[in-house]
């Protein structure tokens, strides 16, 4: 592999990795506060894509509006899922919440198949994201530059909310001790709802970026990115928002580089994510940047 090829693969890896990262942020936020693996996160992302798709197709909205409305709708969906499915089991053993999340995930996927149909749909890619940049023999879509920028901006906003606002302080408080926070007069359920809204909005943004890069959507599209993003979140130390981003990048690069170096092993690509997950959990369960020990 010469330098140009290596750089090309590096770009491929970063652009895939930052997508994993942005989806991982939502996972890690919810986990940080509720200790809940929101299994349905990938499917929430899928719903975000479909909202955007139908916004453009049925209401012929300009894409910018459609994307913003889709993100808002997905945030509301996140709140509804929390209110309808997760809040009733909050006092139950944690495993009940995980099972509920698995149920919600399957419900979204199958309702999606019934309502949207199983056939793949082409996602609209605006002109703005459709030009190719050539640089010393390396070629990539300009979207590959937008993705990390948008992701980092989002990350910045989320960090700002977590560390500089009252709600953010309440979130951090809940993640340490939910009961005490409640006693201090914080409306815990409201803060959790806001967390879900933020996580789901980030998922929708990630999903739309995903659909722009891989312009195809279907009701099962969230499964694989969801699982990979979860691995990224664990890799970065689950609960750590910045770590999720870095975890995503590492995972993206690892997957791309395996295929680049040994194309004959590319069939094992999906095993890489889980291989990394297993190794990380066995040797450093807190992830690379996690401080808190898992239960």
């Amino acid at each position: 592999m010469d330098l140009a090829q290596f750089s090309q693969q590096l770009i491929n890896g970063i652009s895939l990795g930052s997508l994993y990262g942005i989806i991982a942020i939502g996972y890690t936020m919810v986990y940080g506060i509720l200790r809940l693996i929101n299994f349905a996160h990938g499917d929430v992302m899928m719903m975000g894509c479909f909202f955007a798709y139908y916004g453009i197709l049925m209401f012929s909205l300009p894409w910018q509006f459609s994307f913003i409305i889709a993100i808002a709708l997905t945030a509301i969906l996140g709140i509804i899922i929390d209110r309808g499915a997760y809040r009733p089991v909050r006092k139950a053993p944690r495993i009940s919440a995980l099972i509920t999340a698995i149920g919600v995930s399957f419900l979204l996927e199958n309702a999606g198949i019934v309502v949207f149909g199983g056939r793949q749909k082409a996602f609209f890619r605006p002109e703005m994201f459709d030009s190719i940049i050539t640089f010393h023999g390396i070629r990539f879509l300009n979207l590959a530059i937008y993705v990390p920028i948008i992701t980092l901006t989002l990350l910045g906003i989320i960090l700002l909310i977590i560390y500089r606002t009252k709600v953010g302080r309440a979130m951090r408080c809940i993640s340490h001790d939910m009961e005490t926070t409640r006693l201090m007069g914080v409306d815990v359920n409201r803060v959790i709802a806001i967390t879900f809204a933020m996580g789901s909005a980030a998922a929708a943004a990630g999903g739309i970026l995903w659909a722009l890069k891989y312009p195809q959507i279907n009701p099962l599209m969230g499964i694989i990115p969801g699982l990979k993003a979860f691995v990224a979140a664990v890799l970065g130390g689950i609960g750590n928002v910045g770590g999720a981003m870095i975890g995503g990048l590492i995972l993206g690069l690892a997957e791309i580089m395996l295929v680049a170096i040994r194309p004959d092993l590319s069939g094992y690509r999906d095993a890489i994510a889980f291989g990394i997950l297993i190794i990380i959990l066995l040797f450093r369960p807190t992830g690379l940047f996690g401080e808190k020990l898992p239960e």
Binding site: F106, N110, A271, I278, L282, P294, E295
Partner: protein, 353 residues
Amino acid sequence: MDVHHRRNQILSILAIGLGFVLLYLAQKYLTSYQVRILNNCGLFITLAVSYNLINGVTGQFSLEPNAFVAIGAYTSALLTLSPAEKAMSFIIEPIIWPLSVIQTPFIISLLAAGIVTAIFGFLMGFAVFRVRGDYLAIVTLGFGEVVRVVANNTQTITNGPLGLKALAPYTNVWWTWGLALITVFYVSRLVRTSYGMAMKAVKYDEAAAEAVGINAFRHKMLAFTSSAFFEGIGGGLLAHLITTISPTLFTFFLTFNLLIMIVVGGLGSTTGAIIAAILVTWGGEFLRFVEEPINIFFIHIPAVPGMRMVIFSLLLVLMMIFARHGIMGTREFSWNWVVDRMNGLKFLLRNRG
């Protein structure tokens, strides 16, 4: 010791005898479709009860049964196929020696399936029980995915995505329900021993269990390996029931099905797992009418394929919210309960008359 121990034993033996008479009549007089569902029920009882041993009884929430069933199914299928049949199926790359020449009787292949899966479970246990809670769930899910990816890639062993076909249809109601009986017997006996008590202790409070001298890791391993053994044999039966296997059979959907069963039955209850396995397996076929076109009085509802899965997913969520303990909670079936009720009924009738 229960004073009614002897009576209960006799009742159990009678019930099992009656069950087998019913099975005999069923496979003689029912259609092949009904017998197929009956077979699925028996098979899923085995899978659900052994899955429940690790998830419900020991409280270690894990998501790997698809991996275990896959390993069992491939092991037994590769052993029962004749060398000639294997040569015919492996059209892309020939199967590796010694698999290319081995052929064993069905029962040996089933035992091998159980043993190979148990060994795999044992080795996997060393790795996965270093973590707990939802981490355990995710790591085991990861193992399930890895097994499927490997099965797709190892063309010379599993025939890759082409899968194996023309397996002899050895599996019948005697095998499925016989194995179900053995599994239920083993699990319910195990639960009543000191090992089982320790497993329950680990479920309710691992730290406390460790403090009173229970080696939590060892008991988790016992539950996990036993579970793997029966899932493996179940996989072997499954392979010879549908007579063909390929990696797509062993996705997370299979685990999801089993998960619904043990949750509906009540995590930790073997009786519940049995009831739910039958309900879900039979219900899945029964509910097909919701996917057919329906006429209610004058309203025509067109066919909506996919409704069953929507209903099952919704059921899982609603169970968790409103009926977390499932049908049985952690209770088990007991003859004492039945006899008490019968006596109560008798008493009531007598007083009326």
